[in-house]
Symmetry: C2
Subunit: 429 residues, 2 copies
């Protein structure tokens, strides 16, 4: 963990270093991923059998290509009652929030008599990547699948690795809750490739979403344009802006809720009280040993954690915008002035009683959010990622007569005579 | 040009071949582009000087780094009066259309007492690539720059190659009309890299849009995630659905308006009348020699053109959706049934009097549209490409008490104790 103070003459350089630090894996997997994508494109199912046997030690032909939806329903029925209710509450709240994201169509006739508008339609098919092992979270499945369902996507196909054939019952239960019936036991770059290109067994999809390791992320990056993808995801991060009126233990827990994800995660506190900063730092150290995730949280906090002291919290606004964090907590008595001033953040958590974890699970907004300062230009996952907009125009003869000469003039100026001709011929009648 | 008939027993296979044909350049420029991006990232302005001297034969230090906004205003003032009016009409109509794309914010309190919503903000800075030479179109500059302006983007930086120092006065005039003041004389992958990474002279931007050659497209693809980009653009295409009530000359002109762009462009006619198909094919052959762009149009039509005869036009709907064309003309007496049924197209042109060229210039909707069947999942350029959405949540102590236990249950199930702790600590009070 590093400590910075805005009062320090070296602050600008140290803050630049913090902003510019690369936490993303430097593994260069792009060549290996390209080779896997080409194999799946060319060899289809045979490549999936070979790669899944090799990487996941699962024999697709012998052990099964798909997970039976009945197994998902059984997993849902087998859940502890309190957990099932929690999952259902999450599902209901996420659905309700995303339903209000459905875009409106436009269809008007303008002053020149031109019918003009745009309409939205869902994609035909979406692919959902769900990681195996430790990072297989039911909440993540809900966050990725519900927007597709709300968009009205007809086909939702899920791929997930099942190392040694083992499935995660919580993930199956979440799949049952969303009603996903098509689940393939393939993962990694090969799973993404199967969704994008299609194979003999797996029909191709139009959009692929969902978290994964460096190979999965690189596969999606390389397939961007062949299909739509959600975004390039990097390590997770939280920025907590807190005044001294908070319980240091609460703020420490918030910082650790990000640190426990991964050693590359980042937790940053900005406060206007150096004494409060000390108390939070002490609380972090006190809480880490209590966590089952202590080793990860320790490594993340030591490597990437930061505490920044500013003279007053409004002075933090330019720093907040530079960091453009995935998650921004405004744990202050009145968050309104900061909330109004901040421009760049993936999602904002307002006030002392809104820990970021509420948003991870069941606040309602999506927890798939831009990382690595990408909140400067990117948004969280939404219903729009599963839809596309078609614009349209309709000219009456009169409207064409009004617009046509200008179009011909521009076509001539651009040296595109057939463009002009397609308009001019219609003006002669 | 190939001719297909839905009645042909071999139709399915021949149509599959048409849909699957790759028209995009097979040039593998990715390694060269990666090297250029790395050089600009590491060496900044020095790399720009070297590469611009080499590729554009323009000495940045001696001949100027920037185009003076006064030169742009002079170019606008020097325009032919009719052309200037046409450009102004285009600017006004494109602006009016995109102003209605501004998204609405949400800020509500739900039934559980949670404040919940989302708000949109423009990105800080957008970069606009404008090609040099033949493909430098003022209409394209308007289509790329106006949505950024409407979004409220504070800084708009343009890069454009000026081979041998030569500028295109029409493009300068369009830049003046949109009010672009920051124009750099750099192009190619190095121009895109300068916008993405920044150099000593050029400040980095958040989003890069605009058309370019294979190097520019590959540079944008590789920088996706470092910045936002508009989309992966391939060769242009038009699909015209026409009944025999049309003048064959009009439809031929529409097909040629796409074919004249580039030998890789594609023009397809679907009609329900084989005799009409013959007449359009004859009209295409008759019109090509009249065009200054005859050689390009001929090559495109011969290589990539297609005419498909169907028994009735509604039978064309699945074909239209498979092709998912950038531009779809419904040149029929009543376009409504087809318009209602079609799902995938970048932009639709309704009726006999709406040639696609109207949309290229001044219909209002954007002419930057998904190509290569990407209308299955992608949309045209819009104001949203220059904005990003931040979600937010605010819990009162009561709302947290209502939601908290479910969040704790889910965090426990996912094995993330600090997540649960950040909620549970606040429930104890």
């Amino acid at each position: 963990m590093i400590r910075l103070s805005l009062a320090d003459p070296a602050f600008a350089a140290r803050f630049d270093a913090l902003v510019g630090a690369r936490r993303e894996s430097a593994d260069d997997v792009s060549r290996d991923v390209a080779a896997i994508l080409a194999r799946v494109r060319d060899e289809g199912d045979a490549a999936l059998i070979d790669l899944t046997g090799r990487f996941d030690r699962h024999d697709l032909d012998a052990g099964g290509w798909r997970i039976d939806p009945a197994d998902c329903r059984a997993a849902l029925d087998g859940l502890d009652r309190e957990l099932r209710r929690a999952l259902e509450l999450a599902h209901a709240r996420i659905t309700a929030y995303h339903e209000k994201q459905r875009p409106a169509d436009r269809d008007e006739v303008d002053a020149m008599g031109v019918r003009i508008g745009a309409r939205w339609r869902p994609v035909d098919a979406a692919g959902l990547y769900v990681p195996g092992g430790r990072a297989a979270y039911p909440s993540s499945l809900l966050m990725n699948a519900v927007p597709a369902r709300v968009a009205g996507v007809g086909r939702l196909a899920m791929v997930t690795p099942t190392p040694d054939g083992v499935v995660n019952p919580l993930v199956l239960a979440a799949a049952a809750l969303v009603g996903i019936e098509e689940i393939w036991r393939v993962g990694g770059a090969q799973g993404v490739a199967a969704l994008a290109y299609g194979t003999g067994r797996i029909a191709p999809v139009d959009v692929i979403v969902g978290p994964g390791n460096a190979w999965v992320a690189e596969a999606k990056r390389q397939l961007y344009g062949v299909v739509g993808i959600d975004m390039v995801a990097g390590p997770s991060e939280i920025l907590v802006v807190a005044d001294s009126g908070n319980d240091p233990d609460w703020i420490a827990a918030d910082l650790l809720s990000q640190a426990e994800h991964d050693p590359t995660s980042q937790s940053i506190l900005i406060t206007d009280d150096a004494g409060f900063a000390d108390r939070v730092a002490a609380a972090v150290d006190a809480q880490i040993p209590l966590l089952a995730t202590a080793a990860t949280a320790r490594e993340s906090w030591d490597r990437n954690g930061a505490i920044i002291v500013v003279p007053d919290l409004m002075a933090a606004v330019p720093l907040i915008d530079r960091l453009a964090a995935e998650h921004l907590e405004l744990a202050v008595a009145d968050p309104e002035p900061l909330f109004a001033a901040v421009r760049h953040a993936g999602s904002i958590f307002l006030g002392r009683h809104t820990p970021e974890a509420i948003g991870d699970y069941l606040g309602g907004p999506n927890h798939v959010l831009p990382t690595g300062r990408r909140a400067r230009f990117a948004s969280g996952l939404s219903v729009l990622d599963f839809m596309k907009r078609t614009s349209f125009l309709g000219c009456s003869p009169g409207a064409l007569a009004a617009l046509g000469p200008a179009a011909v003039a521009l076509a001539d100026a651009e040296g595109l005579p057939a463009h002009g001709r397609s308009v001019a011929l219609r003006l002669d009648r």
